[in-house]
C-alpha cells in the first residue's frame, strides 16, 4: 500500500515512453502494448492496494503516502490572524472513496485501452502512439486526482485531465469542429476551475491546511450553517462551481456534448466514465464541508435535478448517437449531484461507479456501431443493425436496461437509492427525478430502436467494396479500414467486443454491492464508503441534534441500516419499509413505461414519432437545438468577451498608447512652436539688429575681397603703425 503512488505513475511512464519515443519509433503493436501494459500494471496494483485496504478494520481504512514537499512551508496568515505555514506535499491517500475510484478508473480504463487498440487501428503509426500517450497521460492525471491527499494535488489531476480531455477531443486536430470543441472544453472547465481555485484559497485561509482529512476533521466540530451564508457555504459554493465545470452541470455543461468530437473510446473513458465524475468525487471528498453548508447543498440538489431534467429533454430529440449518450451522461451526472445535494454521498458515489460501467459500455457499443457503419453517427441513417452486430446489440441492450433502472441491473440499485433519498429530502426534487428517469428510459430505448430495429436506412454497400470511403470524411476519418472498401455493417474485432462483454458483466453485477436494506441487502457499499464522508472529530455537543442537515448527511447513512422500521427516534423523515418498496416500484415502473413508450413509438409505429414531432414542432425545434443555450452563450459570454477584447485593444491603441504618442507629439509640436517663436520673434530681433548692422557694414564689408594680399596688406598696416609708434612716440 506504500506503493500507491506507483498507480498513477505507471501510466504516466507509459505516456512518457509513448510520447517521447513511441511517436517516432514504435510500431502500432509496440505502442499499444506499452500503453496496455502500463494500465494493466496499474490495475493490478490498484487491486492489490484495494485488497489490502479491505483487510484493514473499517475505521482504519486510510493510508497516506507522502513523497516529498511540493511547496515547502512558507509563513502565511490565516483568516483568524494566526500565522500558519503554507505547504503542500506530494501526498497520496488511499481510503474507501479513493479506493473505489482507482478501481473504477483502472478497470474501465484498462478495458477501454484494450478496446482502443482495435478501434484506432486505422490511424497512422505516429497518431496511434500519440493517442495512447494521451490516453495513458489521462489515466495518470485521473489517478492523481483521485489519490491526491490535498486540494492542490487533486487540482493537479483536475487540470491535468482537463488537458488530456482537450488533447483527445482535439485529436483530429485538422478538423475545425474538433479543435473548437477541445478548446471550448478547456476554457469552460477553466471557468469552473476559477471557482475551485478560489475555494482552495478560502480553505487554506480558513483551516490553515489543504489536506482533505485535516480540513474535514477541523470542519467537523464547526456548527452547521443552517441560518445563512457562512464561510463554509461560500467555500463549498465555490468548490461546486468547479464541480459544475468538470462534471458538466448547469450552467457549464455546454462543453460535454461538443466533446463527442473526440474518438469514441475517449468519450467513453473521459466523458462518461471517469473525468466528468471528478466533480462528483470532489464533492464527495469534501462531504464534511458540504454537509455543514445546507444552503449549498440545496443549490447542489437543485442544479443537479435541473441539469438531469434538461439534459434528458434534449436527449429526446437528438439524432447523433453519441450526442444522445452525451446528454444522457449530463443527465446521469445530474442524478449524482442530486444524491450529493440531498446528503446521500455514498449513493452518489455508488451511482458514479455503476454509471461508469454502463455508460462506458454504452459508449463503446456506440463506437462499435459507428465502426460498423464506417463513421456514420446519425441514427436516421442506421436501423436494423441487430443481425449484423449481435454482440454489440446484446451488450448495448444490457447497458440500456441498466441505465433505465430495470432490476436487477446495476443502474436500478444506485438510481433507486438516489430517488429514495431525494424523496426523503424534497418531494419536488424526487418528482422531477422520476420524470427524468422515465425520459431516460425512453430516449435510451429510442436509441436502441433507431439503431438496431426497424429497417436499414443507411447507405447501400457493394459486396466487393465499391464505396470506398463513405462516411470517413464526415467523421474525420477516425478509423478507416485500411485500403479496402466498406463492406457493410459488420461486427467489430475481438479486441473491441471482449471489453464490451466484460463491461456488460460489470453493468449487470456492479449493483449488487449496494443492495438496499429494504430488499434484504446490507448496502455494503455505503458502509464501506462511510468513513470517507465523516470527520473523525465528533460533532460538538450542541450540534448533534439529528434533525439537522448534518445528521441527515452524516448520521443517517451510517444508521440507515439499523434504524429501519421507525425505531430511529429523531429520524422524522425516515420511511417505512413498505413505503420504500413502493417508491422502488414506482421508479421501476417509470423505467418500464419509458421503454414501452419508446417501443410503441419507434418500433411498432414509427410514424407516430413524425406526427409528434410535427404537432409539437416548436418544442421539437427548441429541444433539437438544445434550448439555444450555445447560441445564448455565444451571444453573451463569448461575444461579450471578444467585444471587450477588441474594445480594449482599440482603447489601448488609441487612448493609452495615444497618450504616450500624444505626449510625444506634444513634445514635438511644442518644440515646433518654440521653434517658430524662436524663428520669428527671438530670431527676428536678432535679425533686426543684424539687418541694421548689415546695412551699416555694406561699405565696410567691401574690404572682404577674398584677395589674400589685401589681407596681408592690413597686417602690414599694423606693422607700419607699430613701427611708427616705436619710431615717433618713443
Amino acid at each position: 500500500m506504500d506503493l500507491i503512488w506507483l498507480i498513477p505513475l505507471l501510466p504516466g511512464l507509459g505516456a512518457l515512453v509513448n510520447g517521447l519515443v513511441g511517436v517516432r519509433a514504435f510500431g502500432k503493436r509496440t505502442a499499444g502494448l506499452v500503453a496496455n501494459a502500463a494500465m494493466a500494471a496499474a490495475l493490478a496494483l490498484a487491486l492489490y492496494a484495494f485488497w489490502q485496504l479491505l483487510s484493514l478494520p473499517a475505521d482504519a481504512r486510510e493510508h497516506t503516502v507522502r513523497l516529498a514537499a511540493w511547496i515547502p512551508p512558507i509563513p502565511l496568515a490565516l483568516g483568524n490572524g494566526a500565522i500558519g505555514g503554507f505547504t503542500v506535499p506530494w501526498g497520496f491517500r488511499l481510503d474507501p472513496l479513493s479506493g473505489l475510484m482507482i478501481l473504477v478508473v483502472t478497470l474501465v480504463g484498462f478495458l477501454i485501452h484494450v478496446y482502443s487498440t482495435g478501434y484506432m487501428h486505422g490511424e497512422t503509426r505516429g497518431a496511434y502512439a500519440r493517442f495512447f500517450a494521451y490516453l495513458n497521460l489521462f489515466a495518470f492525471f485521473m489517478l492523481v486526482l483521485v489519490l491526491g491527499d490535498n486540494f492542490l494535488v487533486m487540482f493537479v489531476g483536475w487540470e491535468g485531465v482537463g488537458l488530456c480531455s482537450y488533447l483527445l477531443i482535439g485529436y483530429y486536430y485538422e478538423k475545425q469542429s474538433a479543435s473548437d470543441a477541445g478548446k471550448k472544453a478547456f476554457i469552460v472547465n477553466r471557468i469552473g476551475d476559477w471557482g475551485f481555485i478560489v475555494g482552495i484559497f478560502m480553505v487554506y485561509g480558513t483551516f490553515g491546511t489543504l489536506d482533505f482529512r485535516a480540513v474535514a476533521d477541523a470542519a467537523g466540530p464547526m456548527g452547521v450553517e443552517a441560518a445563512g451564508f457562512g464561510t463554509l457555504s461560500i467555500i463549498t459554493l465555490l468548490l461546486f462551481i468547479g464541480a459544475t465545470g468538470k462534471s458538466a452541470q448547469i450552467p457549464l455543461y455546454v462543453w460535454l456534448p461538443d466533446a463527442m468530437e473526440g474518438p469514441t473510446p475517449v468519450s467513453a473513458l473521459i466523458h462518461a466514465a471517469t473525468m466528468v465524475t471528478a466533480g462528483v468525487y470532489m464533492v464527495g471528498r469534501n462531504a464534511v464541508l458540504f454537509s455543514h453548508a445546507p444552503m449549498t447543498m440545496e443549490v447542489v440538489a437543485v442544479v443537479g435535478v435541473a441539469t438531469a431534467f434538461m439534459a434528458a429533454t434534449i436527449g429526446l430529440a437528438q439524432h447523433d448517437i453519441k450526442r444522445v449518450l452525451a446528454y444522457s451522461t449530463v443527465s446521469q451526472l445530474g442524478f449524482m449531484f442530486i444524491a450529493m445535494g440531498v446528503g446521500a454521498f455514498a449513493a452518489g458515489a455508488f451511482h458514479l461507479m455503476t454509471h461508469a460501467f454502463f455508460k462506458a459500455l454504452l459508449f463503446l457499443c456506440s463506437g462499435s456501431v459507428i465502426h460498423a457503419m464506417a463513421g456514420e453517427q446519425d441514427m436516421r441513417r442506421m436501423g436494423g443493425l441487430k443481425p449484423h452486430l449481435p454482440i454489440t446489440y446484446a451488450t448495448m441492450l444490457v447497458g440500456t436496461l441498466a441505465i433505465a433502472g430495470i432490476p436487477p441491473l446495476s443502474g436500478f440499485f444506485s438510481k433507486d437509492e438516489i430517488l429514495y433519498r431525494a424523496f426523503l429530502d424534497h418531494k419536488v426534487i424526487w418528482g422531477v427525478a422520476v420524470a427524468t428517469a422515465l425520459m431516460t428510459a425512453f430516449y435510451m430505448y429510442r436509441l436502441m430502436s433507431l439503431t438496431f430495429f426497424g429497417a436499414y436506412r443507411g447507405p447501400a454497400w457493394e459486396a466487393h467494396g465499391g464505396r470506398a470511403d463513405h462516411g470517413h470524411a464526415a467523421s474525420g476519418g477516425g478509423h478507416g479500414h485500411g485500403g479496402g472498401g466498406w463492406r457493410g455493417p459488420h461486427e467489430s474485432p475481438r479486441s473491441m467486443t471482449v471489453p464490451l462483454q466484460l463491461l456488460a458483466v460489470g453493468a449487470v453485477l456492479a449493483g449488487f454491492v449496494g443492495v438496499p436494506a429494504a430488499l434484504g441487502g446490507g448496502n455494503a457499499i455505503e458502509h464501506f464508503l462511510e468513513p470517507s464522508f465523516v470527520a473523525r472529530t465528533a460533532a460538538p455537543p450542541g450540534a448533534t441534534a439529528p434533525a439537522t442537515h448534518e445528521a441527515r448527511g452524516l448520521g443517517e447513512a451510517a444508521h440507515a441500516a439499523e434504524s429501519k422500521g421507525g425505531e430511529g427516534t429523531g429520524h422524522a423523515a425516515h420511511l417505512s419499509r413498505s413505503a420504500e418498496l413502493g417508491l422502488m416500484a414506482l421508479s421501476v415502473l417509470a423505467g418500464i413505461v419509458g421503454i414501452a413508450a419508446a417501443y410503441r413509438i419507434f418500433v411498432r409505429a414509427p410514424e407516430i414519432a413524425e406526427t409528434l414531432a410535427r404537432r409539437w414542432s416548436g418544442a421539437h425545434r427548441v429541444l433539437s437545438n438544445k434550448y439555444y443555450v450555445d447560441e445564448l452563450y455565444g451571444a453573451t459570454v463569448v461575444a461579450g468577451t471578444m467585444g471587450a477584447a477588441r474594445g480594449l485593444w482599440a482603447f489601448d491603441r488609441s487612448v493609452v498608447d495615444g497618450a504616450v504618442n500624444g505626449s510625444g507629439w506634444l513634445t514635438v509640436s511644442s518644440a515646433w512652436v518654440s521653434h517658430a517663436l524662436d524663428k520669428y520673434i527671438v530670431d527676428g530681433l536678432v535679425n533686426l539688429v543684424g539687418a541694421v548692422l548689415e546695412a551699416g557694414s555694406f561699405v565696410v564689408r567691401r574690404v572682404q575681397t577674398g584677395l589674400v594680399q589685401n589681407y596681408a596688406l592690413v597686417m602690414l598696416f599694423g606693422v607700419f603703425a607699430f613701427v611708427s609708434v616705436y619710431l615717433f612716440v618713443r
Partner: protein, 561 residues
C-alpha cells in the same frame, strides 16, 4: 559547498560577457562564423561560471553573500560593491541562461552586421547581470542605464517593420522612468547623509534606514514610475508590445525574460524594504493597477492578430500577476512573485523563441498566415504545447506554482484580489488555446506552410533547458523556494514584521530540511500531518475548534500536532 577560497565569483560572472564583447571587437567582421562561435562559447561560459552560485549560496547564511567591495568614487561614497541574495542568484542564473539561449537562437536569424549584433548582445547581458549583483545604488543605476543602449540598437538595427519608432519609444519611455528614479535615489542619498553624516550609496544601509513618511512617499512615487515602466504596469505598458513586436527574436527573449524583471526586482530590492510605510500606504492602487493589468493584458491579447504582439500582451498580464503577488506583502505572495518572475522568463522567453522560429521561416507574424502546422512541424508543436501550457498555468508545469502562490498570497491580503485576478487564468487559457488552435490545428491550407522545416538540432537544444526547467519547477520547486527565503524574510522584516517574528520563532531557517523530508510515514491510521510538521512548530489550530470541545477519542486536526 561554499565559496571557501573567496573567489570573486560575481565579478567573473559580470565580466565574462563583457570580456567576450571586447574580444569580438578584435575579430574581423567578415568572419561571421568565427564570430558566432566565439559569441556562443562566451555565452555558454558565462552560464557555466554562474552555475556555482546556485550551489554555493547558502540560504541559512547572511542575506547577501559573495560580497566584493572596492572603493569606486570615494569622494561621493560610491563603491564597487557586489553581492547576491537568493533572489538575485535566481535572476542572475536566469540571465546567464537566457543570454546563452538568446545567443544560440540567433545563429541563422542574424545575417546582417553579425559582429555588432553579438557585441551588443553580450554587452546587454553584462549590463543586466551588473544590475542584479550591484549592491551600490550608483553602480546599480549605472548598469540600469547601460542596459538601455544595446537594447536600443538591437531593436533599432535588427528589428522589423517599425523598428525605429519602437526603439525610440522604448528608449525614451524607460529613460523618463529612470531619470525620475535617479531623483529618488538622490533624495535618499542626501537623507542618508543627513542621518548618518556620511555619504554612501550602500544599498544595505538604505535598507536599514527609516526615512520619514513624506520622503518615503515621494521617493516611492519616483521609484514606482521608474520600475513600473520597466515591469510594465498597466498604464505604462504600451512600449512593450511595440518593442517586443519589432525586436529581433533574441531581443524579445531577453526583453521578456530578463529586462522586465528589472522592474519587479527593483520593487522587491528597493521599494519594499527601503520604503515600507509608503508601500503599505500604496497597496490599494498598486494592487488595483496590477489586477487591471492582468485582465486588461489578457483581454487585449485575445484581440491580437499578430502572434508576437499577442505574446507581448500576455507578458503584460503575467507581469501584473507578479506585481500582485509582490504587493500582497506576505511571504507566500512575494515568494510566488519571485518564482513567477522565473516562470515568466522561462515560458514567455520560450514563446518568443517559438514565434522567432516560424518568423525566421516565413517572415510573417500574422496568425492568419499559419494553421495546421502540427502536421509539418510535430516536434515544434509539442514544444509549443508544453510552453503554452506552462504559460497558462497548468499544474506540474512551472507557471502553476507561481500563480498559486501569488493568488494564495493575494487572497490573504484581500479576498477580492484573488477572486478577480484568478479570472485572468480563464482568459489566459482562452487566448493561448485560441492562438494554438489557429496556428497549429486545422487543415494546412496555406501552401507556403507545406514545406516548413521542423526544428533543427540547434533549435531543439535552445528549447531543451527551458522545458526541463518548466517541469522541474512545476514538480519540485522546493530548491527555488528555499533560496528565496532569505530575501523574503528580509523584506518581511521591513514591511510586515509579524511574519519575520513568526518565522524566526518557528525556525524558518530550517526550511530546507523540511523540504527534504521524503521518508514515508509509517502505516498508521492517523498520518495526516504534513511532512515536516515538527520543524514547522506551531501549525495552525483549526480556527473555530473549541478547545477540548471535541470527543476525547478524536485526534485533533493534523494528527501529531
Amino acid at each position: 559547498m561554499s565559496n571557501a577560497a573567496n573567489f570573486p565569483i560575481l565579478s567573473t560572472i559580470l565580466f565574462t560577457p563583457i570580456a567576450g564583447a571586447v574580444l569580438l571587437l578584435f575579430v574581423n567582421k567578415r568572419q561571421e562564423n568565427l564570430i558566432r562561435w566565439i559569441a556562443n562559447l562566451v555565452a555558454l561560459l558565462g552560464f557555466l561560471v554562474s552555475v556555482p552560485i546556485w550551489f554555493w549560496y547558502d540560504p541559512a547564511g547572511p542575506q547577501y553573500q559573495f560580497i566584493e567591495r572596492v572603493p569606486w568614487i570615494p569622494s561621493i561614497g560610491a563603491d564597487y560593491f557586489l553581492g547576491v541574495d537568493g533572489f538575485s542568484v535566481l535572476l542572475v542564473l536566469l540571465t546567464t541562461l537566457m543570454g546563452a539561449i538568446a545567443v544560440l537562437s540567433s545563429w541563422t536569424a542574424i545575417t546582417d552586421r553579425v559582429k555588432e549584433y553579438y557585441v551588443f548582445l553580450l554587452l546587454l547581458q553584462g549590463g543586466m547581470i551588473g544590475a542584479f549583483v550591484a549592491l551600490d545604488f550608483l553602480l546599480f543605476f549605472l548598469f540600469w542605464e547601460v542596459m538601455l543602449v544595446p537594447m536600443y540598437f538591437l531593436i533599432g538595427i535588427w528589428g522589423s517593420d517599425r523598428r525605429l519608432y519602437s526603439a525610440i519609444k522604448f528608449f525614451l519611455y524607460t529613460l523618463v522612468g529612470s531619470v525620475v528614479m535617479l531623483l529618488g535615489i538622490l533624495a535618499l542619498y542626501f537623507h542618508l547623509h543627513d542621518v548618518t553624516g556620511a555619504y554612501s550609496f550602500d544599498i544595505t544601509k538604505f535598507q536599514a534606514m527609516h526615512a520619514p513618511f513624506d520622503l518615503q512617499w515621494w521617493v516611492f512615487l519616483a521609484f514606482f514610475l521608474g520600475f513600473s515602466i520597466k515591469v510594465p504596469m498597466f498604464p505604462f505598458h504600451t512600449w512593450l508590445p511595440d518593442a517586443h513586436t519589432d525586436a529581433p527574436t533574441a531581443g524579445s527573449v531577453i526583453l521578456a525574460a530578463v529586462l522586465l524583471k528589472m522592474g519587479t526586482y527593483g520593487f522587491i530590492r528597493f521599494s519594499l524594504p527601503i520604503l515600507p510605510e509608503a508601500t503599505k500606504a500604496s497597496i490599494w492602487w498598486v494592487a488595483g493597477l496590477a489586477i487591471i493589468g492582468i485582465i486588461y493584458g489578457a483581454l487585449v491579447a485575445l484581440a491580437q492578430k499578430d502572434w508576437k504582439r499577442l505574446v507581448a500582451y500576455s507578458s503584460v498580464s503575467h507581469m501584473g500577476m507578479v506585481m500582485l503577488g509582490l504587493i500582497a506583502l506576505n511571504p507566500v505572495g512575494i515568494t510566488g512573485s519571485i518564482i513567477q518572475q522565473l516562470n515568466h522568463g522561462i515560458s514567455t522567453g520560450a514563446l518568443f523563441l517559438i514565434v522567432g522560429i516560424v518568423y525566421e521561416r516565413r517572415h510573417t507574424r500574422e496568425i492568419a498566415e499559419y494553421g495546421g502546422l502540427s502536421k509539418v512541424m510535430p516536434v515544434f508543436a509539442a514544444i509549443f504545447m508544453v510552453m503554452m501550457l506552462s504559460s497558462l498555468g497548468l499544474p506540474t508545469l512551472n507557471g502553476f506554482i507561481g500563480e498559486i502562490l501569488i493568488l494564495q498570497g493575494a487572497y490573504t491580503a484581500n479576498i477580492w484580489w484573488a477572486a478577480v485576478a484568478a479570472s485572468g487564468l480563464v482568459l489566459g487559457a482562452a487566448y493561448l488555446l485560441w492562438l494554438y488552435q489557429r496556428t497549429m490545428f486545422g487543415r494546412l491550407e496555406n501552401p507556403k506552410n507545406e514545406h516548413l522545416r521542423d526544428l533543427s538540432l540547434r533549435e531543439i537544444v535552445t528549447f531543451a533547458p527551458l522545458v526541463v526547467l518548466a517541469v522541474w519547477i512545476g514538480i519540485y520547486p522546493a530548491p527555488f523556494i528555499n533560496r528565496t527565503a532569505p530575501t523574503v524574510q528580509a523584506v518581511m522584516q521591513r514591511v510586515n514584521p509579524e511574519y519575520a517574528r513568526a518565522s524566526a520563532a518557528a525556525g524558518a531557517r530550517q526550511a530546507p530540511k523540511i523540504a527534504d523530508c521524503d521518508e514515508n510515514e509509517p502505516l498508521t491510521p492517523f498520518t495526516t500531518a504534513p511532512c515536516g510538521d515538527a520543524a514547522e512548530g506551531q501549525a495552525p489550530p483549526p480556527p473555530a475548534a473549541p478547545e477540548g470541545g471535541g470527543a476525547p477519542q478524536a485526534n485533533p486536526a493534523g494528527g501529531r500536532h
